[in-house]
């Protein structure tokens, strides 16, 4: 529960924007911009949210769990596999660069923007 309190809140007004509309604001200190592409944005009903953290080194996994509970099960299924692990096919982009390694172990230390991309193959 202690960890949950450091994840303060999502800015509520960002959730009422339709998909495709992006809230253009510079993240303030402690804020991280999360953007979703393709199926993730469709499932969430928003393409972008800004999160406010009091702690610098927040584990990405904890944020994904929190976002999944807010965006609903369809969004969560795109992020997590049947075993509850972050999907191997999810691309995680920190400040414009793909992050490699175990996605379960990533932290948002100093990260200003996180982009979550699911694979697409429309042709």
């Amino acid at each position: 529960m202690e960890k949950r309190t450091s994840f303060r809140r999502l800015l509520r007004h960002t959730f009422r924007l339709p998909v495709g509309l992006v809230l253009r604001m510079m993240p303030l200190m402690g804020q991280v911009n999360f953007s979703y592409t393709g199926q993730l944005a469709a499932a969430a009903g928003v393409a972008e949210v800004v999160l406010d953290f009091s702690d610098d080194a927040v584990p990405l996994r904890r944020v994904l769990d929190e976002l999944a509970s807010r965006h609903g099960s369809k969004w969560g299924e795109l992020i997590f596999d049947d075993a509850g692990q972050v999907r191997s096919t999810l691309l995680v982009i920190f400040d414009g660069a793909q992050v490699s390694g175990d996605k379960e172990d990533l932290t948002l230390d100093g990260v200003k923007s996180v982009m979550l991309m699911t694979p697409i193959a429309g042709g």
Binding site: S88, L91, Q98, S100, I120, A121
Partner: protein, 248 residues
């Protein structure tokens, strides 16, 4: 292959492009491109490569034309609904630029034909709507050391990933398994697939002709809902099942 007078007339306006010129045109003229499916994305891609004067197009595309293909499959014609797509697209390309050799295979990419088809080409463009086909192209391109421009779209977004085996991540570096949630049916406006196609075509033209800066190790992403364009740094997976042993 030296340019003919007809080539110089036909491609006159692009011969003026800095860095391209006659040598770039000659390289294009000597090149063969394989396109995996010529639907909403592969169709405009083939069109642009034909317009630019590629030497030969090999296009793999199965099935008969449906009415609901026509919001995006611009090589097809309304009168051809119900007929093989391969015939329709070949007729359009040949009428548009008779200088370009067009070989149309009325099949999609499969385990049985992937190696043979990739072997025909200097460069491959992935535009199939299924990851199974894209992964086959990727594996064969890595095996044969051929560049692959993977072009994809969904709804109002596009992603273009130029792959040079040994130098950039391959498709399997990014996606180590077939994505479970991708479905054959996806939302599409033809202008978006054509935009992804033409970015992919341009990356391929630069690679073949040897000019400009190809977006290596950077996936090109765009969202036409907001007109946000971005290059995302991507990296090889040292444990990639497809390309981990490949080096330059």
């Amino acid at each position: 292959m030296p340019l003919t007078d007809l080539d110089r007339s036909l491609y006159e306006w692009q011969l003026d492009v800095p860095g391209f010129g006659e040598s770039g045109q000659e390289k294009l003229r000597s090149s063969t491109a394989l396109i995996s499916r010529a639907g909403g994305l592969g169709g405009p891609l083939a069109f642009s490569l034909a317009a630019a004067g590629i030497g030969k197009l090999v296009i793999a595309h199965a099935g008969d034309l449906r009415l609901d293909d026509l919001n995006r499959q611009i090589l097809m014609r309304h009168d051809d609904v119900g007929k093989p797509r391969a015939e329709s697209l070949a007729a359009t390309l040949r009428a548009f630029n008779p200088q370009v050799e067009v070989e149309v295979i009325p099949e999609n990419i499969t385990e049985a034909n992937a190696a043979e088809l990739v072997a025909k080409a200097d460069i491959v463009f992935g535009a199939a709507p299924l990851f199974e086909e894209r992964f086959l192209m990727n594996r064969e391109c890595v095996r044969q050391g051929k560049p692959l421009i993977d072009c994809a779209m969904f709804s109002l977004e596009g992603q273009i990933l130029p792959i040079v085996p040994g130098q950039t991540p391959c498709l399997a570096c990014l996606y180590p398994e077939i994505p479970e949630h991708w479905k054959r049916r996806f939302p599409v406006i033809g202008a978006v697939s054509a935009l992804a196609a033409n970015i992919g075509a341009m990356e391929g033209i630069k690679l073949l002709a040897g000019f400009g800066e190809v977006s290596l190790n950077r996936m090109i992403y765009f969202d036409t809902a907001t007109m946000r364009f971005q290059q995302i740094q991507v990296q090889r997976n040292p444990d990639c099942a497809v390309c981990q042993h490949v080096s330059l």
